[in-house]
């Protein structure tokens, strides 16, 4: 259930951004989450819905784009999408690779209700 920690961090970061942009209520928070983070969508929504109560994010919904894993072979440099956990290079057969994508955990944008008077 690391989703609770993630939801809490989303809440805190969003509140931070709202404050810096003159306040307001968030309607939508757009995320990018890499598959290697092992985030369970339902668990994240569940945690977020509990934590957002009585905050400026009370009406906010989470939306996200899942980023597939991409790794680069340590031997020949070929980039590929791993099929299973063994990360065997389809080009040279070597095991072992560096993560190129799939570890994202970012807030991409926040939609705020109505207009904004702030700058």
């Amino acid at each position: 259930m690391h989703e609770f920690s993630i939801a809490e961090a989303i809440l805190r970061t969003t509140e931070d951004v709202l404050r810096a942009n003159g306040g307001g209520k968030a309607e939508k928070i757009q995320l990018r989450i890499g598959v290697l983070r092992q985030v369970v969508p339902d668990a994240l929504t569940f945690a977020f819905d509990i934590l957002k109560q009585d905050t400026p994010l009370a009406e906010a919904e989470l939306e996200w784009e899942t980023v597939p894993a991409r790794v680069g072979c340590k031997s020949c440099g070929t980039e590929y999408q791993p099929e299973d956990v063994f990360w065997e290079c389809p080009s040279c057969g070597a095991l072992g690779a560096e993560v190129v994508a799939g570890e994202e955990l970012e807030i991409v944008s926040i939609t705020v209700a109505g207009g904004s008077d702030g700058d």
């Binding site: 259930m1 299973d84 956990v85 063994f86 560096e98 970012e106 944008s109 705020v112």
Partner: protein
């Protein structure tokens, strides 16, 4: 109105991780973050290491558990400094918790710090990705005979990852 931001969600954890890293580096302490299934032998390994090494290197232990001080009591019997973190049901340690634990521990005279994570093969690993330098090494334990059918393919990020 849409506000475009690209903010890493775990920024705070990463910042605290950086403070942990700096403190350990200044004190010349190598930290090992032990991740393993419940019952895989994390505490036993630490006990063994203490018995073998404590006359040659200064060892400290941070014990992470959802509840109780049982593991910390086991370690304390071996006469090394130990701080217990109770996560109150939480499934992993975060850098902020480790930072608080470091406040309670005198790093002078220490060379090696064991951080025993909560027994879990998923969540602690995910957090470690976010702060891969907060412990300078991570040790993964896997005890197949005790955990029945659990195996590396069940928990890929724990075993199939870069070191």
């Amino acid at each position: 109105m849409e506000i475009k931001v690209v903010r890493r969600i775990m920024e705070m954890n990463e910042q605290h991780a950086e403070v942990v890293r700096q403190r350990l580096r200044e004190a010349g302490v190598v930290a090992l973050n032990l991740i393993g299934a419940p019952g895989s032998g994390k505490t036993s390994l630490i006990e063994c290491a203490i018995r073998e090494l404590k006359h040659e290197v200064g060892i400290g232990v941070i014990e992470g558990d959802p509840d109780t001080t049982r593991d910390a009591e086991r370690i304390a019997q071996l006469d090394v400094p130990v701080v217990q973190i109770n996560t109150e049901g939480g499934c992993h340690l975060e850098a902020t918790m480790v930072l608080r634990a470091l406040d309670e521990m005198n790093l002078n005279g220490l060379d090696l710090l064991f951080i025993e994570n909560v027994g879990n093969l998923v969540c602690p690993v995910v957090f470690d990705l976010w702060c891969s330098t907060w412990a300078r090494r991570t040790v993964w334990l896997w005890s197949a005979q005790r955990r029945g059918t659990i195996s590396p393919p069940n928990t890929p990020p724990c075993f199939g990852r870069r070191r």
